[in-house]
């Protein structure tokens, strides 16, 4: 009995132990899940506190915040893309903006979604007076889902469009090319088309350069192309050419200002010009670039080269004489002087009175081969390398006969662009180094200065001759007190409209000035197309009456801007003074 009782007790204890163990495990698991649940609630509580308290200062609407955040990120990415693809700005040598790309809104419509087409067209026509309601209605009736209404909509116009309340109207941002200087630099800067491709001027000439961020100079994270243009000088040149055109009732005009050492072009004008923000038809006459694309027989300015050639190749002295008593007869051609002196002339006299006969004899003395080679070296026989693509090849006699050697000596029978003339003249007066015309600022160490065109002595002699042509010759009206101006007039008759010979009533009058002529810094050239003689010019419309005063005014206005100081210009300081002993003074026409 006792043994039975003991066994029962042992079994009871075992069962009890097993139950306690199971209860303990169950209890442990319950606690574990309770902890997890508590942690979960604590997490949710913390998150709620975080959102409502800690982040409360940022936004009351976390979802909207996240949306804004995502949009911001997207906008930022888009901004990066725009910055990468945005066309570089074009600035002048002082950083003044000539062309820039701005983000503007463009208005489009989804014609399929439009509610009231007639009303919308009528309302839009009130906002955009450049369109009629019928034109707009035609756009709204197009069987497409996307039609442009207007590019570059102003904020005021946007507000007015919004007030129409038409949901089918929408906006998209586009890059708009803006030219703040307007017509002032139109032919230099040019313009782009709707596809952002350069179609004119620097925009065309350096299209890839401007479109590629890598190639352009980067300033403050933005790309820009620094040009050699100085808008102040550009304005002066444009103003004076424009005034001269008005004064002489001329058809057109052109001009250039070039740094003689670097070939940098500070200003280049072709009038009439246009506003690149609102360009005319591509075939309009104002779209023609007269300073680099147009080629002209520029007349006596060419004597700079024939005179330089005789000094360089034949080493003649200033006292060398050329017989200008009689016109030169060559076959059916007759070469005579405009300001006929009918006497024997020294080299300075030939240049000073602009004798065609003397210059032709100089070229004859140099010889055809030499003169052709010299013109070629000066870049007068081929199209120049330039940053603009609007350049033309010169019209050179082909075949070149002996008579051409004589006539080209005074700029007759060879047509070049003003750019070529200015470049060649700069290369002669700067000490004799060929310069390359450039519109983009180049580091001084990158400027090549290796090709010598004429000797230092010839360059010096030519500078003295240019000064003499101003102090005693045809270019007197260009002189500016306190500045040593040198220069050469040019008056050419234009080919007659019937193609037979030249029209003596249709002139191309020009003047090429150099200053300060003893140590030249700039060449200034102005050409006026078909000026008419005026009462105050005694009916004359030659280079001396038309171009020279205009160049003088440009030099006077630009000198203080480019830091050229007033000088003593009396005979003791005048480089032309030593030449006066070769000049036999008498009354002569201007």
């Amino acid at each position: 009995m006792k043994a039975l009782d003991l066994r029962f007790r042992q079994q009871h204890v075992r069962v009890s132990e097993n139950r306690d163990r199971a209860l303990k495990v169950m209890h442990g698991r319950l606690v574990f899940f309770q902890v997890i649940a508590c942690l979960g609630f604590a997490f949710m509580g913390l998150r709620a506190t975080d959102l409502m308290v800690m982040q409360a200062e940022h936004t009351l609407f976390p979802a909207a915040e996240m949306l804004v955040h995502d949009e911001a990120m997207m906008e930022e990415q888009q901004a990066d893309v725009v910055a990468l693809t945005r066309r570089g700005d074009i600035v002048d040598r002082n950083g003044v903006i000539l062309a820039t790309s701005l983000k503007t809104d463009s208005l489009y419509v989804d014609p399929a979604e439009i509610i009231d087409k007639q009303k919308t067209a009528y309302e839009l026509a009130k906002i955009f007076p450049e369109y009629t309601a019928d034109e707009l209605l035609e756009k709204l009736n197009l069987p497409r889902r996307f039609v442009w209404i207007k590019h570059g909509v102003t904020p005021k116009e946007q507000e007015a469009v919004l007030n129409i309340g038409e949901p089918a109207l929408g906006y998209t941002q586009e890059d708009y090319r803006f030219y703040p200087q307007g017509a002032l630099t139109s032919h230099l800067v040019g313009r782009i088309n709707r596809e952002a491709k350069g179609i004119m001027g620097l925009e065309r000439g350096l299209d890839e350069y401007l479109a590629s961020q890598k190639a352009t100079e980067v300033s403050d994270g933005e790309a820009e192309l620094r040009t050699t243009i100085d808008v102040r000088v550009q304005h002066i040149l444009r103003r004076e050419i424009s005034n001269t055109i008005k004064e002489f009732q001329a058809k057109a005009g052109a001009g250039l200002v070039m740094d003689v050492d670097t070939g940098e072009i500070l200003a280049a004008v072709s009038l009439p010009d246009f506003d690149p923000n609102n360009p005319p038809n591509p075939n309009a006459p104002e779209m023609f670039n007269r300073f680099s694309q147009g080629v002209y027989e520029l007349g006596s300015s060419f004597k700079i080269f024939s005179t330089a050639a005789v000094l360089e190749f034949k080493k003649v002295g200033m006292g060398h004489r050329f017989d200008a008593r009689e016109p030169i007869t060559y076959g059916r051609f007759k070469i005579h002087d405009y300001h006929a002196e009918k006497r024997i002339l020294t080299v300075p006299e030939v240049f000073m009175v602009s004798s065609n006969i003397g210059s032709a004899k100089m070229a004859e003395m140099v010889g055809t081969d030499n003169i052709k080679a010299f013109y070629r070296d000066l870049g007068l026989m081929d199209a120049p390398q330039f940053d603009l693509k609007e350049v033309s090849a010169p019209l050179v006699p082909n075949p070149w006969r002996e008579i051409n050697t004589l006539t080209t000596a005074y700029g007759h029978g060879i047509a070049i662009s003003p750019l070529q003339l200015v470049r060649a003249a700069a290369s002669i007066v700067n000490g004799g180094h060929l310069v390359t015309p450039r519109l983009v600022v180049t580091a001084p160490e990158d400027l090549e200065k290796t090709v010598r065109i004429v000797s230092e002595k010839t360059s010096r002699d030519m500078r003295a001759l240019l000064r003499l042509a101003v102090t005693e010759g045809t270019g007197g009206a260009s002189d500016v007190k306190g500045l040593l101006v040198g220069g050469k007039t040019g008056t050419a008759e234009k080919p007659s409209k019937d193609g037979r010979g030249y029209d003596r009533h249709r002139l191309l009058s020009s003047f090429l000035g150099v200053f300060p002529v003893d140590a030249p810094r700039y060449v200034v050239f102005i050409m006026v197309d078909e000026p008419k003689g005026q009462k105050h010019t005694f009916g004359y419309a030659t280079g001396g009456w038309v171009g020279a005063p205009a160049v003088g005014r440009v030099i006077e206005a630009m000198a203080p801007m480019v830091g050229i100081k007033r000088r003593n210009t009396d005979d003791a300081h005048d480089i032309a003074a030593p030449l006066k002993r070769y000049v036999h003074f008498k009354e002569h026409d201007r």
């Binding site: 942690l39 000539l98 002032l184 000198a559 203080p560």
Partner: protein
Amino acid sequence: MSLQRVFVIFLLVMFGVSAVTLYQVSQAVQHKERVLAAKRREIAQLKEERRLLKAEWSYLNRPERLEKAANKLLDAKQISIENVTGDAAQVPEPDVPSHPPVARKRFDNVQDAAATEPAAGGDAE
């Protein structure tokens, strides 16, 4: 309490702490990203505005416009070569009251500091 249980509890605590820390870091990063995005957007907007203002400045400062405005509003003539005396040092000082003493002193200090600053880029040896 067995060592194993202590270890498990320790792991759970560590897990919890890590989770909270990670959460905080994640939140902080998101917040910073939002701030950064907003700043970048603001910078982009300001840059765009600056571009617009620069373009407008160039437009309003067109030489032709300035010349017309000067001719109309100022009793001044165009500068000629006669007016250029030489360099800026030759221009006499305007007869105006001197700067306030404090500002003047500060300016002098800047000049003195610049004058006494040793030349940069010299060889250490």
